[in-house]
């Protein structure tokens, strides 16, 4: 499906196309999910789980975001965006019907149709880190026969900071073959679930390091570090663990020179990496 939104002669990868924000969902005090549709009602471009797109507000700027919807949702793209600066502040003030610019897809996706096929999958996310995993999880749910057991461990600062809470409760938790483990950092009134950081909850759960299992992590660097340590202690091999890296990006296509770690460009060789691949990179992320 190619995009016909107002591109004219020059289809340079740096030039965005027109799109419209059709729905805005408030997830947490600082995260909203934006539904984006091409100006002609199309989906702008195809993507795979883990890939990202650049969103533009003319005059405000442009930034990279994970596409949080699954490619199996073919009518739109969703972005869960945390308010933390110029562009994201502006996005949070928008109303449905507002037009924006979009370009993509960027980066290498998770190997959902190859390595992940037939495997039991463990997803571990912290905070807004659920955004890229949400796409993989829903892709796996839509192609349920291709995957084994699915475990989802997700934590946030507080109950109010859990993104996609309704979907997790009403859909994911209710599905056979999916186990959801939620946790928040500190006790809170009205929360009867688990309390504690993601890495310590991981130890309590104690996933078996079966060779048929793949773990996928996304969250703040400190969480990634301790979760990875935890998995290794449990007996997982780094080749069984995938994560995504996040660095400042401008072009998205390996040319502006901004997002490299050693000889790898996170925008084009990532953002998805297998953890043993990350070990080979110089320590600069």
């Amino acid at each position: 499906m190619s995009c016909t939104c107002n591109h004219g002669e020059n289809a340079d990868k740096l030039v965005p196309v027109r799109a419209v924000v059709t729905e805005i969902r408030t997830e947490t005090p600082d995260v909203k999910t934006f539904r984006v549709v091409g100006i002609d009602g199309s989906n702008c471009f195809d993507h795979m789980p883990g890939q990202c797109a650049m969103l533009t507000v003319p005059g405000v700027g442009e930034a990279m975001f994970s596409i949080t919807s699954s490619p199996t949702e073919t009518e739109y793209k969703d972005f869960s965006i945390k308010r933390c600066g110029l562009l994201t502040d502006y996005l949070h003030t928008m109303e449905p019907g507002q037009e924006i610019g979009i370009r993509g897809p960027f980066g290498k996706p998770f190997p959902v149709d190859t390595v992940f096929k037939g495997k039991d999958l463990i997803f571990i996310a912290g905070g807004i880190g659920l955004a890229p995993l949400h796409s993989v999880i829903n892709y796996c749910r839509a192609n349920r026969d291709n995957y084994g057991k699915i475990d989802i461990l997700y934590g946030s600062r507080s109950a109010d900071d859990l993104v996609d809470f309704d979907e997790i409760k009403n859909e994911w938790e209710k599905e056979d073959g999916i186990n959801v483990y939620l946790t928040i950092d500190r006790e809170q009134e009205g929360w009867d679930g688990h309390v504690g950081f993601v890495p310590s909850y991981l130890k309590e759960i104690g996933f078996k390091p079966d060779a048929n299992r793949i773990a996928v992590l996304c969250g703040p660097p400190i969480m990634i570090k301790f979760v990875l340590q935890g998995l290794i202690e449990m007996g997982f091999d780094k080749t069984q663990v995938y994560t995504t890296l996040e660095l400042k990006m401008k072009c998205g296509i390996g040319k502006c020179g901004r997002c490299n770690i050693g000889s790898k460009y996170v925008c084009k060789d990532g953002p998805v990496f297998r953890c043993d691949e990350i070990d080979e990179l110089p320590d600069e992320y």
Binding site: R18, E99, E246, C251, N260
Partner: protein
């Protein structure tokens, strides 16, 4: 081999400028740089190196890539039209000519940068051999020969004449267009000139640098080396080295509101700047040591890793002559044992 009297060169340039946009080294504000040539301007043929490299012609210091209009909730996106006019760049040195190949492998690899590619495809590059390479030059270290500068057409100034050799199809076609102004020439004088240049090149103090300790497989060995601390100690992060460098390609993308529309422009940026990688959760290179190391590791290790061993430096020596603290890539190479002389 063809030639033209130096006295008639201006007529030839005028002819080129009629049928194309002609860039060549001219003096502006006391500095010689590549710029659009008009009849009143003097071609600074004797200037060995322009202050900035010739990369401006294909990768301008600043250019608009798209403009926008915003009207309540609606936006309009107007991509900039691609340049198609023929461009001729005259007087390019061997090092800068080679730098185009290096920039090509960045900008023209998939997905190609259409702005760069359009300019590159519509350009004819005419090089000029360096009659007096300087002591800051070390292009030979990267396999570049200032006596045979290459590109579409290569030329030599010998005595009162300019010798002219077309190499590519584009170069031959342009030579044909100018055939009434060029006369047949003997190779002998050019061969003598080449030997003369080679003799000078052999004597250059930096031409014996060795790159054997660098290359695509050296990341782990060099990244944590103790040398970076001392090398980067005095670097003030001014970015001059990256701006004058023919192979530096980092850029920024920003929006500018003119009041009438919004222009999104792309401009040169520098990995030497402290905010280059600043993002929502901070920067991954908070120290100047890290930024300094990035620049040189990119040229001598990371770029070769991604480009079949090719280095991203052409030994033009611009960073050698322009760094305010006299730090440069030659010193970096030497400090890792590359001083072979």
């Amino acid at each position: 081999m063809k030639k033209i009297e130096k006295a008639k060169l201006n007529d030839l340039l005028a002819r080129l400028a009629e049928a194309s946009t002609l860039y060549l080294p001219v003096r502006k504000g006391g500095k010689v740089n590549f710029a659009k040539w008009t009849k009143d301007e003097e071609y600074c043929a004797d200037e060995l190196k322009t202050v900035k490299s010739a990369k401006d012609v294909f990768f301008p210091q600043s250019e608009n890539i798209v403009s926008f209009k915003r009207e309540s909730s609606k936006i309009t996106i107007l991509p900039k039209e691609l340049p198609t006019d023929r461009t001729v760049i005259f007087g390019v040195r061997a090092c800068d000519a080679k730098s185009f190949d290096i920039l090509d492998s960045v900008f023209m690899s998939e997905p190609a940068d259409s702005f760069y590619t359009a300019r590159r495809n519509s350009a004819v590059i005419i090089t000029t051999a360096c009659s007096t390479p300087e002591e800051t030059c070390f292009c030979g270290v990267f396999g570049i020969d200032p006596a045979n500068p290459g590109a579409d057409i290569q030329t030599w100034f010998v005595g009162e004449e300019l010798f002219w050799e077309a190499l590519s199809e584009k170069g031959k076609a342009l030579t044909e267009e100018l055939s009434d102004m060029l006369s047949d020439a003997d190779e002998k004088e050019v061969e003598d000139e080449k030997s003369r240049i080679s003799e000078i090149t052999k004597q250059l103090p930096l031409n014996g640098l060795s790159l054997e300790n660098f290359g695509g497989d050296k990341t782990n060995e060099l990244f944590d080396a103790a040398q970076w601390e001392k090398l980067s100690q005095s670097c003030i992060g001014c970015g001059t080295c990256t701006f004058v460098c023919p192979t530096c390609q980092c850029y920024d993308i920003r929006d500018y509101d003119t009041g009438n529309d919004i222009r999104r422009y792309r401009c040169w940026d520098s990995c030497m700047y402290s905010d280059f990688t600043m993002c929502a959760h901070g920067t991954n290179r908070p120290t100047q040591l890290q930024r300094f190391r990035q620049r040189f590791m990119h040229k001598l290790v990371y770029f070769p890793a991604n480009n079949n061993g090719e280095f991203s430096c052409v030994g033009c020596g611009r960073c050698v002559s322009s760094c305010p603290i006299s730090m440069n890539i030659a010193k970096v190479i030497k400090s890792f044992g590359g001083d072979n002389k």
